[in-house]
Amino acid sequence: MSVGIVHFLFLGGFLFAAGAFAVARQRSYLGAVAGLPLLLAGAGLDLVAVSRFATARSDQLAGQGFAVLLALMVFAFVAVGAALNRLETPR
């Protein structure tokens, strides 16, 4: 079966929903922070897939650029969340 944009969008939607589930389900900082990379990874995968399949050849770098930005934002969010978790945890 040939793989097309729908397959990537479905996988991206799953990652986004799994991240939203993790953020909403758990009360601890670390639990919520672990969901943020999944949320943004799903969005990034959709951006790259749409730029690969559904845009003109010259516009493909726009989606990839946003995916790179999202990946860097993920690391910043996780670092800040881990620091907040450290502050919140009683010694």
Partner: protein
């Protein structure tokens, strides 16, 4: 896409799904391992989509995030999954609804190749959009985000005392 690309997609999609489930449902070290699996699977999928630089950045950024989570969660028990309140449960159920909506959109959407009506969409155009035409809105959003981040840090410090 040919058979090779299809095989690569299904293999690494399985890795990504397994990692996503582990990261969303587990706690402690398995959660960091799940995030590392998502990083590996996603990087391979990006590479399969001819996005090599995005694959590299994603692998490094998500891999480092998994390491940070592993270090932050060190010393905690792996069974520390906290069920949360009714609002948390409601939010988790809404996440399932979000997945259904996204899956419906993915299957029913019509996608075509074409140029953006507003012209070329590149880094220079984005810069003009953010610091020229919509500068006031960008400043407002940045101020709101900065205020929220500062409030979160202050809140955490007060709770830590």
């Amino acid at each position: 896409m040919d058979t090779l690309h299809s095989g690569i997609f299904y293999a690494f999609a399985a890795v990504t799904v397994a990692g996503g489930l582990l990261a969303a449902l587990a706690a402690g070290r398995p959660r960091a391992l799940g995030l590392a699996l998502v990083a590996a699977g996603l990087a391979a999928l990006y590479a399969d989509l001819d996005a090599g630089f995005a694959a590299l950045v994603t692998l490094v950024a998500l891999g480092l995030s998994a390491l940070v989570l592993l270090r932050a969660g060190a010393g905690r028990t792996a069974t520390a999954l906290e069920p949360g309140t009714l609002v948390n449960q409601l939010g988790a159920s809404l996440a399932g609804v979000v997945f259904l909506v996204l899956a419906y959109i993915a299957f029913r959407g019509a996608y075509f190749a074409g140029y953006h009506a507003g012209g070329s969409f590149n880094t220079a155009a984005l810069g003009r959009l953010l610091v020229d035409r919509d500068a006031l809105a960008v400043e407002a959003v940045a101020a709101a985000l900065l205020t929220g981040a500062a409030a979160a840090v202050l809140f955490a410090r007060v709770r830590a005392r």
